[in-house]
Amino acid sequence: MPLNRPKPGSLESIMAGTKELRKQIGSIQNTQKITSAMEMVAASKMRKAQDRMSKGRPYSDRIRSVIGHVANASAEFQHSLMIEREVKRVGYIVVTTDKGLCGGLNINLLKAVVNDIKTFVEQNIEVDLCLIGNKGSQFFRSYGGNVVAAGSHVSESPAISDLIGSIKVMLDSFQDGNLDKIYLANNVFVNTMTQEPTIKQLVPLDPDEDVELKHRWDYIYEPEARQLIEGLITRFIEAQVYQAVVENGACEQAAKMIAMKSASDNAGEMIDELQLIMNNERQSAITQELSEIIGGAAAV
């Protein structure tokens, strides 16, 4: 113990205690300033991301239902992306955020994906991964897994052209027969408080469960079924992945806003507690000083 340390309980030690407390409060206040600034940034970004998401939704919903009809039609032409085959190897396109500080958003999604992967591995089915977003790449680097494609820096204002590369790798290996199923995993924005990890089958295409359309029928194709369906399917997959990325972006900002809000709130609570301890100590120091003076006066 250094010699110049004041004795515990003495006036000097209390002064030192309050000084330390004051320092700690100061540093917590600084952190709080940062987190509340980040909260506000996330809130304004969320509005934009949400806007982008809700604008893209009608298109991706419509094209999904059209594709559902097409898959249902007893088409004269069966595109390779529409044919179910025995599953030996599956692919996952996993959309995560690039940056952290957004609560359990990525972890929840990755947990769901890992669960799925485990069940496939138990059935001796191999899994390929295509990762969009830094957090997913980081996770699977330590977890292990066969990563065939990765993309990042897409969470803010993504463009379809940024995503096509990674999608193409997966689709090509599906068409070459290396993959028998491709899933798309991303967070779905329910509301600001809730984001739901979801895993959807992307190809082969899921027929729509529409009862009205159960009888045998087919489209008239103008000009040619093959060309039309091919174009439509490509458009569909791009739209789905784009929508997933946009939606994940909105989730990221919402989760970040909530995480930062609770961090700011916690900081506030901590400051209050420390302030109370500091005030108590200061008060007891004053009381002690007073009683010492009174005691001294009485002795004289």
């Binding site: 604008k55 893209g56 009608p58 298109y59 419509r62 094209i63 239902s65 059209v66 009809h69 097409v70 039609a73 379809i160 029928w217 087919d218 489209y219 008239i220 194709y221 103008e222 000009p223 079924a225 039309l228 369906i229 174009g231 439509l232 458009r235 739209a239």
Partner: protein
């Protein structure tokens, strides 16, 4: 048979129109299409051009679609456009300027120009202008 059909026009950016209509006229890959309620299922591409809707009550609405796909079901017509606009929103001056630029580029003999793209551009701008003129005619 129902006298109207649900028509939805969506572009990659937003939903442009959704509602019951009596007839849809659009430019398909192999020519103009007139679609009444109860049409047989049809799938076709869209060429840049006007899309006319006769809404319930006989009013007409004109839109512009620049490529994409049309799906026709007996009770629903879905137009998945790459980009779509309300005809009223088309900026005629901008369309004319873009058309001129495209024409100029097409006449240009340099080799670094993507002719396929330029002629597609030109077609699109011409179609846009056609839409505006059709709209004006009707208002006229």
């Amino acid at each position: 048979m129902a006298s109207t059909v649900l028509c939805t026009i969506v572009s990659a950016e937003e939903e442009i129109y959704s509602g019951q209509v009596e007839m849809v006229v659009a430019t398909g890959t192999i020519g103009e299409l007139g679609i009444y309620p109860g049409h047989t299922p049809l799938l076709t591409g869209v060429k840049p051009g006007p899309v006319r809707l006769r809404v319930e009550g006989g009013d007409e609405e004109i839109f512009f679609a620049s490529g994409g796909y049309i799906e026709v079901q007996p009770g629903a017509v879905t137009i998945l456009a790459d980009t779509a606009l309300r005809a009223d929103d088309i900026d005629e001056a901008a369309a004319v300027a873009a058309q001129q630029k495209a024409e100029q580029e097409q006449g240009d003999q340099r080799s670094d120009i993507d002719f396929a793209r330029v002629s597609a551009d030109l077609q699109e701008q011409a179609a846009m202008l056609r839409t505006v003129r059709k709209l004006r005619e009707r208002k006229g």
